[in-house]
Amino acid sequence: MDMKVDKKLGLKERYALMTRDLAWETTYQPMDKVFPQVTYEGIKIHDWNAWEDPFRLTMDAYWKYQAEKERKLYAILDAFNQNNGHLSVTDARYINVLKLFLGSTPPLELMAARGFTNVGRHMVGAGPRVACLMQAVDEYRHFQTQVHSISNYNKYYNGMNEFAHQQSRMWYLSDGKSFFDDAITAGPFEFMVAIGFAFEYVLTNILFVPFISGAAYNGDMAAMTVGFSAQSDEARHMTLGLECIKFMLEQDPDNLPIVQRWIDKWTWRGTRKLASVGMMMDYMLPKRIMSFKEAWEMYFEQNGAALFNDLARYGVKVPKCFVQTVAEKEHVTHQSWIGFYMKPDSTPFHTWIPEKDELDWLSEKYPNTFDKYYRPVLEHFDAQEKSGNRFNNKTAPMNCQVCISTIKFNDPDDPMKTLIRSKTYKGEKFHFCSLHCEEIFDAEPEKYIQAYISSHQVLQGNCAPEGVDTTAPDFEPGAHIAAYWRLDKAATGDFNGSEDQANFAAWRRQATSN
């Protein structure tokens, strides 16, 4: 008997069968009970089939591409590790970028995976469901490859082994955690604007400059390869975010004000998160790529403005915070670095004052602000450190109720003053770092009054390691904080005089001399 062999399916046909064909109208239960989350945010969708997928990627093709990419990635990671690649980075200060990255980013990839899994379940159309499923798997992979690429450094340097424990406890990781907690507890459409659009589309390039280009510039082939391997995924993620925005706006004119509010909110929340990313570019990479200010101009002011011009035909306006971010680009990285520098006992990475030529670089890159506001205090810190009086601010921080950043940003009208906004809600005072954060609070106060602020948790007696009696009369909140954080003492303090600095120098000498 002759076998009837079908001709190979075309990309379009296969896509239709493998994605759109997987959705159906439910009959045992009404659709609105099966998909309860797509209506309560107020977004109106009339035709789920109008969702376009430019990539037309099916799950079988996804596995094939990703498996191939990962084989290559792990071959490079192995080679890097076997050749003591960690000794080829510019200098040991660079490794602190990896420590900060490890604490802040891979755990958030994991949260993104959870978020996209949830949205993939709740979107009605098969198009967005399949795209969200792939993005969820991407985020898991990114978490895993990032941790694998850094795990080799963990064999040699301090401060990396407790990143998972520290993620939901350390003071400086609360802002990123809050960002994702806020997004993942929102409805599916707001999540897509928060992560899919504002983060993946509008702000992601700024995130990639210090990590991928930074790794490449500083001889870290492992981290660089992880970044490049993720880039084809990122292109898909950006498209998904933008597609979702356009889909909502095309479906119903009533969606516009809701979408606009989310764009305003999430562009601002993302901007606040990027202050510490920019700090890595300006202060922590021994070989710098560009200043944060230049990156902001290129990726946000120019590319971002072009994007919002494109979206203007739907009635979308540039985010409300746009003007403030432009004014702040000359300040925020310096303010962030001072914020970390003054807490040498409280981070699992080292800080330092830049060398003279690095201060000169900052003066050149920030002609309007660096010499006027920041250089004198950094030079003062440096002189104090050299005379044995290294700055150590032992107090606990005041944080913004919404973005959970420490309240350290300047008044837009006066860079010498710190902006602190306050209000009373249901008889209790709340404080904010900016007007934008205050407006986010006003829109959903019941959400933000639950914010986790680590210094307040310490003072409530909630941050003691197991076995410590927090009800004892002599219990001192804060006394056990390092143990609670599982903070390795060798990982703290100034870079100068650190074990990492000494080991790196000794090992490099061994590798390059007799």
């Binding site: 001072i338 003053k417 005072k429």
Partner: protein, 118 residues
């Protein structure tokens, strides 16, 4: 506005007064001395004399070279945006300092390292 949600959405504040076991939060900030990066927070009983807040906590600002030059009777104290004159021997409560109040002080003529606000 309220939170859009599928079910009633009401939660107590995480930092409400009763969670601090008889103490209250107080924030402190020295204006135009931004080397300390951000205001600090402490938890004290409302009966704590203002002098203790000053001697045990505000004095950590002494690391700044401007500190010895402060003329204390010219200092402007504020609770939030309201100017007030603290009675050092009276309690926080008697000074009108409530839970999560922000005490800021300005030192005229002292604007930080090289007049930078730092």
């Amino acid at each position: 506005m309220t939170v859009a949600a599928l079910a009633p959405y009401e939660f107590a504040s995480r930092d409400r007064l009763e969670n601090f076991h008889g103490k209250q939060l107080v924030y402190v900030w020295w204006e135009k001395h931004r080397m300390f990066s951000r205001p600090f927070v402490v938890a004290l009983t409302p009966a704590t004399p203002f002098r203790r807040l000053f001697e045990d906590y505000i004095s950590t600002y002494a690391w700044h070279p401007d500190w010895p030059h402060i003329v204390w009777d010219q200092v402007i104290w504020q609770n939030g945006d309201e100017v007030f004159t603290p009675d050092f021997d009276a309690s926080l409560a008697q000074n009108g300092i409530g839970h999560k109040d922000l005490i800021r002080f300005s030192t005229p003529g002292l604007d930080g390292i090289a007049g930078t606000g730092y």
